[in-house]
């Protein structure tokens, strides 16, 4: 309440609208998490939209959606749309995160503890 609407600005950047062909990541309930890992099945194909090609290039080894967003300099919702295209076209694979049910799995937590111990 301290700063209502302080740094909200009007409109959505046009560039993002163009990249996603006018689609908004908000419309489709996203099944992609910030830490879903993405792996490309091949290199980029000729004629691909530059953002799709960039994703194909950087996902030669697994990369999270958050990392793709960081390297492309694009918002998560835009990257979600781009990945949706590539997934639908069968160009990339996704590896969903380990979802802690209500409470996380003991073995999972133990694995994390072991990993942290080695840091």
């Amino acid at each position: 309440m301290s700063n209502p609407g302080g740094d909200w600005e009007d409109g959505t950047p046009e560039r993002l609208y163009v990249i996603t062909g006018g689609r908004s990541g908000d419309l489709e309930p996203s099944h992609l998490d910030l830490v879903t890992l993405i792996i490309a099945k091949s290199g980029p194909k000729p004629g691909m939209q530059p953002e799709h090609a960039a994703i194909m290039r950087m996902c030669q080894t697994p990369l999270s959606l958050a990392e793709i967003s960081a390297y492309l300099g694009l918002p998560v919702s835009v990257v979600t749309v781009l990945l949706g295209d590539l997934l639908a076209a069968g160009r990339v694979l996704s590896r969903p995160p380990v979802a802690p049910a209500k409470l996380p799995d003991l073995a999972l937590i133990e694995a994390v503890i072991d990993g942290l111990r080695k840091l």
Partner: protein, 206 residues
């Protein structure tokens, strides 16, 4: 907004590549007020230089557009730092440091969903920032621990005093840390994992 201008990396460096065996990831969220040390903590334990992801947040405007009569929408871009720790050949842990502006913490869709848990980083000079977030994590059932980042000019309080000031249940771990130190930040994550382990091992006791 902060203006820490580090060149934005446009592709992962070769040494930052995850092995092809990386099968799944988990995430932990670091929350806390402006300048409490979230980015420092993420950076001190991350195996990659912290990266920044962003999201466009929209909110319906209060007024009505004069000409078209449609509801006005406003949007803003919110940035979030994150880092990564490879736990083993298959499992990767991501750490997200929330933006300083509190009102965005719970607006970022999918940030807390699926998170293993959260670390609430507090600065004893501004404890009040933590009340609201602790309440909202409890509401959402996100397990968390509280870490007090010790700044040299901050008044020193014993942990138990801070616990009652934060109105924190006895069961929630509360520790001191120095977010600049890798071992100290690692220990905070360890505290969270041990707490999660105890919750998972004895779900009915809370």
């Amino acid at each position: 907004m902060d203006f820490e201008s580090s060149e934005r990396a446009i592709a992962p460096r070769r040494e930052d590549a995850l092995p092809a065996t990386a099968a799944a990831a988990v995430k932990v969220v670091i929350v806390g007020g402006f300048g409490v040390g979230k980015t420092t903590l993420v950076g001190s334990v991350s195996e990659i230089r912290p990266l920044t992801t962003e999201e466009t947040m929209t909110q319906a405007g209060v007024g009505v557009d004069d000409t078209a009569g449609v509801e006005r929408k406003t949007s803003t871009t919110v940035a979030m730092d994150f880092g990564r720790i490879s736990i083993n050949e298959e499992l990767v842990l991501y750490l997200f440091g929330t933006p300083g502006q509190e009102r965005f913490w719970f607006l970022w869709r999918g940030l807390f969903e699926g998170a293993l848990g959260a670390v609430v980083l507090v600065d004893t000079r501004r404890l009040e920032v933590s009340f609201d977030v602790i309440g909202r994590l409890e509401e959402r059932g996100v397990p968390f621990v509280v870490a007090v980042n010790s700044f040299p000019d901050a008044p020193e309080h014993p942990l138990e005093e801070l616990r009652s000031a934060l109105d924190l249940p006895a069961s929630v771990p509360l520790v001191f840390c120095d977010a600049r130190r890798r071992d100290s930040s690692r220990d905070v994550l360890m505290t969270l994992m041990r707490y999660l382990h105890s919750l998972a091992a004895a779900p009915e006791a809370s």
